[in-house]
Amino acid sequence: MIGFLGRRLLTLGLTLWLASLVVFVVLEVLPGDPALLMLGVDARPDTLAALRTQMGLDQPAPVRYLAWVGGLLTGDLGISHTYGVPVAELIRDRLVVTAPLAGLAMLVATAVALPLGLLAASKQNRPADYGVMAFSQLGVAVPNFWFGILLVLWFSIGLGWFDAGGFPGWGAGIGPALKSLTLPAFTLGLTEAAILARVTRSAVLDTLGEDYVRTARAKGLSRGAVMRRHVLRNALIPITTIVGLQFAFLLGGAIVVENVFFLPGLGRLLFQAISQRDLIVVKDAVMVLAAMVVAVNLIVDILYAAIDPRPKAAA
């Protein structure tokens, strides 16, 4: 187990280092002068030069790369060009929206998808199965931003139960903050549930076809006991993989839904930073996202080991 973790951590470090190189080089190649963008079309050349010096853009690229990575290693993420505040603060402010949102969405997704998937698999080719499959097909087909707009039309404009969007901040209390995340979490969660329900159904069906399931049934175990003890545990392996992928995707990829609900999440910060050429924020945000994805993968790997003892034995 120690060797397993050590290898994983090494891969993690290498992945992050590669990510840092890629994001730095891409931003070097990308056209666009942050100083010009900040000062606008009427700025004079001497004003632009003054700002570029202030932002440290007059240094050569390798020097800037080393300074940046050195800062990351010592926990100093630098100061945002546009906002003038520490990037660590900016990212923290956004993470406290994005991480709970992704968590809630996955909670909704698994709470809906696992029972539905199990139901569909156990009633294969019967009306319940068709119903679940139809829901799944619909969920995959409907774009989540459109579903989000529908929820706003129903629950905000029609019924007035929720605000149309925005995030009051955790300072406003847990209730209002959770309330503002409810519609977005359902928007993201239900569309992810559609995919997850399909995966669950086929994973369970695959396991149900295994010889050991027939053996278990033959030795007299009830359907329910077989489901719990033999089928579910084995089916969880592909399901865990998908849940991990979905969670990692939601951390950075919820931007479209963040736009619909005008939530100040990490995806939107990244998007704004790219269009404003706030390079330090882009670089740091990408690194934080990469680190989180890698961490989620690590957790999934550890979960595998807990669910399925075989890789451990092999190692």
Binding site: L36, M38, Q54, I157, G160, F167, G171, F262, S275
Partner: protein
């Protein structure tokens, strides 16, 4: 087996359509001493003397910060921190008489030393002021007493009082200048309260403001909503009370028909032009430029790109400004005349060109319509959408383009046609002479005449295809009064806003 998903989709679509047509129940009871204003973009920071972003001005102008003079809703110069001023006969010396009893939000007193500090800082060597040019004519700033400032110019500047009323000329205090980006300290009727990053900025009433009757509200909240559909939802659900620059132009008729809302369409200083690279073939040929002017149907562009909001223009000048000359009839829409002109220029079969479009919706939509219109006369346009950053670097600064569409939003900025190395690549001695005389002229009637001459010269040279004046299209809840209808400078001046 396949019919079930199809059926369910149909049901969902149908219920969705029903939901769309449901009338809004509106928000809960309005809070009468508070207003929530929606904005498309969040400001990067709140220091108007260190950035060009209009969003900074839309939060801070006249609310948090004040300048020597002040611009009102109609673009007129009124008194600001200076109660009145005298101008010497040669137009070189401005004596500003400051208001007494003015305090900054941190309790420090305001006097002439602050004015001197702010002006010297804006024009100094390390200045990062986006409009440093506004201060270029200043020779000296003197403070004979705490309530008098004498500014001497090296040359007359007809725009000086207007420029001194801009947010870029805000009078910041030496104690707080460096921290204004995050914790702005000004002299205005509202104080900065808090900033929920990415979501909102909250201002509260300044209890120590010199005029106890101002402001009328206790709290102003600016919320940032970039997606047009989300803007519409926020307005209809009552999350915001007003959206002065509303992005979902196509939805304005829905709101106009609803008695809970009032739609306001005013003017801005934005001349929207189809800019041509006069330094590059074939646009260096005046016949080609005039052909383009004849080939573009402005009203169709306004209808298609702006949903009918926006006034066609025939030169680079705002129709609401003194000195405006209507030149829209100079090149009437006439495709066959355009073809003749192209043939004269040696392009009987038209030519290929690239139009590079920045992100604003007006530019992208107008670009598509213009590409279709130019195709009628044989000009084949390839549309290249761009982000702001590369547009600024390549098109604006690098002058690497054939055509582009952009709105020039600075007030009275016709002088850009006289700037060397400006991205139009245009030069005219006749125009330069008019601009030179204008910069030395203070007498209003003569200035208006000169502005008229300037408009005619660039229209006759058909430097660009002048499209339309960018409208300020906004929506607000019924019962709200005092918000600006026009936008002479970027601002959401809340000082006079109240609920009926």
């Amino acid at each position: 087996m396949k019919f079930l998903p199809v059926l369910l989709t149909a049901i969902l679509l149908a219920t969705g359509t029903v939901a769309m047509t449901m009338t809004p129940t509106g928000a809960a009871a309005q809070n009468r001493d508070r207003i929530v204003i929606g904005m498309q973009l969040e400001p990067p920071h709140l220091d108007p003397t260190a950035g060009a972003a209009a969003a900074i001005d839309e939060v801070t102008y006249s609310n948090l910060f004040e300048s020597l003079t002040r611009i009102d809703e109609h673009g007129e110069v009124i008194s600001g921190l200076a109660e009145r001023w005298d101008v010497s006969a040669d137009g070189l010396t401005y004596t500003f008489h400051l208001r007494g009893g003015v305090k900054y939000h941190d309790g420090t007193a305001f006097d002439s030393a602050d004015v001197k500090f702010a002006l010297e800082r804006a024009r100094g060597d390390g200045s990062v002021n986006a409009q440093k040019g506004y201060f270029a004519a200043i020779k000296t700033v003197e403070t004979p007493d705490p309530l008098t400032v004498t500014v001497t110019l090296s040359r007359p500047d007809g725009q000086f009082l207007f420029n001194m009323g801009s947010n870029d000329a805000a009078i910041v205090a030496p104690e707080s200048a460096e921290t204004n980006k995050q914790r702005p300290v000004g002299t205005g009727p509202f104080k900065f309260d808090r900033w929920v990053s990415g979501d909102r900025i909250v201002l509260v009433r300044n209890p120590d403001f010199r005029d106890p009757a101002t402001p009328k509200l206790n709290e102003v909240v600016f919320r940032f909503i970039s997606d047009p559909a989300a803007q519409l939802n926020a307005v209809r659900s009552g999350d915001v009370d007003a959206f002065p620059n509303f992005g979902a132009t196509e939805s304005l008729p829905i709101l106009e028909a609803d008695k809970n809302f009032v739609v306001k369409v005013g003017t801005t200083e934005g001349e929207t032009v189809l800019a041509l690279n006069n330094g590059r073939k074939p646009f260096s040929d005046i016949h080609v430029r005039r052909a383009l002017a004849h080939a573009v149907n402005r009203q169709d562009v306004v209808d298609g790109a702006m949903f009918g909001y926006g006034t066609p223009i025939g030169s680079h000048f705002a129709p609401h400004r003194t000195g405006y000359v209507d030149l829209t009839a100079l090149y009437p829409y006439d495709p066959s005349r355009a073809k003749d002109l192209l043939a004269q220029a040696g392009y009987p079969n038209g030519f290929d060109a690239v139009i590079r479009l920045p992100p604003p919706v007006y530019a992208r939509r107008a670009g598509e319509i213009i590409a279709a219109q130019l195709a009628e006369v044989g000009i084949r346009l390839r549309i290249e959408p761009m982000e702001w950053a590369p547009w600024l670097e390549q098109v604006f600064r690098g002058r690497d383009y054939d055509m582009t569409i952009v709105s020039h939003v600075e007030p009275l900025d016709i002088d850009i046609y006289n700037r060397p190395d400006y991205y139009f690549n245009y030069h005219s001695d006749r125009f330069a002479a008019v601009m030179d005389e204008l910069s030395r002229t203070i007498e209003p009637n003569r200035r208006a005449t000169l502005y008229g001459d300037a408009q005619r010269i660039i229209a006759e040279d058909s430097v660009n295809v002048f499209l339309f004046q960018l409208p300020k299209a906004g929506v607000q809840r019924a019962g709200l009064t005092g918000l600006w209808e026009n936008s002479p400078v970027p601002a959401n001046d809340v000082t006079a806003v109240s609920w009926k």
